[in-house]
């Protein structure tokens, strides 16, 4: 029985490790309140400003678990659905997909240097150079 409990505990721990929270980060000086709807609109190009009227520039990840979770949890689209969505905007002149970087470290670095940027990373990657805006 103890052996079974240990396996269950291990399995639950692994699941917990794999389902890390997605953390939306902004510059430490950014005081704007954000919710899921707002973040989604920003990353779909439908919102171009924070609540205080300052410009918002999303920074996306090219790949990785954080991106996969962000797409399913916040955006609600698969990679191909999102690419089709942006294709319609790009090839009608109505928008450009967010700038993409390869690593969460790059997202942190960019966001920490520019109050207009917003990004997302896995919870474990957050450091003091950026501010947590909201978690999913």
């Amino acid at each position: 029985m103890r052996y079974v409990n240990s396996i269950l505990l291990l399995a639950i721990s692994l699941i917990a490790l794999n389902v890390q929270a997605i953390t939306v980060i902004v510059h430490p000086s950014n005081v704007n309140a954000l919710n899921k709807k707002t973040v989604k609109k920003i990353f779909l190009g439908k919102s171009k400003k924070f609540l205080d009227g300052s410009q918002v520039i999303p920074v996306d990840l090219t790949k990785g678990e954080a991106r996969t979770q962000f797409l399913s949890t916040v955006i609600g689209k698969s990679e191909s659905q999102l690419k089709a969505y942006w294709s319609k905007l790009i090839f009608t002149g109505k928008g450009q997909a967010p700038r993409k970087v390869d690593t969460e470290a790059e997202v942190i670095k960019l966001v920490s240097q520019n109050p207009n940027l917003i990004g997302y990373i896995s919870d474990s990657a957050v450091d003091d150079s950026v501010k947590i805006a909201i978690k999913f």
């Binding site: 707002t38 919102s47 609600g76 690419k83 294709s87 009608t92």
Partner: protein, 393 residues
């Protein structure tokens, strides 16, 4: 002197011009093999009967967008497709200025937003069909135009809903292909277009209209007027007056009459079920051209990386003899009805099944089977099979 020249050339070679703008390159392509068969021996929609072709439905486009900062951008799209032997054309060439957060003005050579998906109808990756339903997206020659447009976006109910609108004014000239007549010159003057899409998270409804003055003197002189001449001569010999003939001719032709195009429809994408419907109606008012009525209805189901879509579509041009009001001579009446019948001879319907497989982050494999019936006896029942890859980059 020679030293100075060499020095100048050397400096020129060392000088690397600095770009004045960030330039973004994007593109799309489709490579598709298509085979069309028909009972009548002639293939519909411009295909060749019986042949497997990798040319007709293949296309390639690259788009460059220069961001000049402070809301100003310049965009050019170079496009080539198999229908036109892959001759490269500048399909789009325009500048945009973001006048406010939700308003952008575009000026130049633009996509003509005739129907809901017209602006991106060539981007196969953007939809789940091998080709957008041809009843609606029939490939008008005036798919682009020169003018000015205003794109706007409005948040409604605290951002729960979005209203996208587009106003456009412009013109177009070129030539078009008419059934049974061939290529003729045509111009569209004072194009005024408006369309709107109202959407929530998983649904949208849309509608739009496009009105223009036809510059069709060449078309009339080379097509309609010669076509009615035998009937006119017969009518004159059977007692019709010159006044009857003049009025009849005026009622038939397109020149300086209004072309009216409009569409409406909806789309749903929820829980991996996809439902789309679009209806279009267009024609030249007060002329021999009866309104064209077209629609498609598509139902799709997404299974992870696969999407299966079934759809039905129809294109018809019901008779409308309103242009013969006030025309009393029976021969002129018969001539007008006969000409309208020739123009409307290509009514057709069809239904099909398509499979999309997103096998790569930037590419989709699609296969489809489409079958239907065309009223033109040389075509009759027909089948289209295709397999291809759509990609964006």
């Amino acid at each position: 002197m020679k030293k100075l020249q060499i020095c100048t050339i050397g400096l020129s070679l060392l000088y690397i011009p600095q770009s004045f703008a960030d330039i973004t390159l994007n593109g799309f392509a489709s490579i598709r093999a298509t085979q069309v068969n028909s009972d009548g021996g002639s293939a519909p929609f411009g295909f060749k009967e019986g042949e497997i072709t990798f040319k007709d439905e293949s296309l390639f486009a690259i788009q460059a967008r220069a961001d000049l900062t402070e809301g100003l951008t310049a965009t050019i799209q170079l496009y080539a497709d198999g229908w036109n032997d892959f001759d490269v054309e500048a399909r789009w060439a325009y500048i945009s200025y973001q006048v406010a957060d939700n308003h952008t003005i575009n000026i130049g050579k633009l996509a003509n937003p005739l129907f809901h998906q017209s602006e991106y109808e060539k981007v196969g990756y953007a939809h789940n069909f091998s080709r957008l339903p041809m009843a609606v997206y029939t490939g008008f020659d005036f798919a682009t135009m020169e003018g000015i447009s205003l794109n706007s976006q409005f948040d409604i109910a605290d951002g729960d809903y979005t209203l996208d609108t587009k106003w456009l004014y412009g013109s177009w000239d070129g030539d078009i292909t008419l059934n049974s007549i061939g290529n003729v010159d045509l111009g569209l003057k004072d194009i005024l277009s408006f369309n709107a899409t109202f959407s929530g998270d998983w649904w949208k409804v849309f509608a739009g209209a496009f009105v223009t003055e036809m510059v069709a003197d060449s078309l009339d002189a080379n097509s309609y007027i010669p076509a009615i001449q035998p009937g006119v001569q017969a009518a004159l010999s059977l007692g019709a007056t010159q006044s009857d003939v003049t009025k009849f001719t005026e009622n038939v032709i397109w020149h300086e009459k209004d072309g009216l195009y409009w569409f409406a429809g909806f789309g749903i994408d929820r829980d991996d079920w996809i439902l789309d419907f679009e209806y279009t109606n267009y024609g030249v008012q007060d002329s021999v051209d009866a309104p064209n009525e077209n629609w498609y209805l598509a139902l799709g189901k997404r299974f992870d990386s696969y999407v299966i879509t079934i759809h039905a579509e129809e294109s018809k041009q019901p008779e409308d003899y309103g242009f013969l009001n006030g025309i009393n001579h029976p021969v002129l009446q018969a001539t007008g009805k006969g000409l309208q019948g020739v123009l409307a001879a290509s009514e057709w319907d069809g239904y099909g099944i398509s499979l999309r497989y997103d096998f790569h982050p930037s590419a989709a494999l699609k296969v489809d089977y489409f079958t239907g019936e065309n009223q033109i006896s040389d075509i009759g029942d027909y089948q289209i099979m295709s397999a291809g890859i759509d990609l964006v980059f």
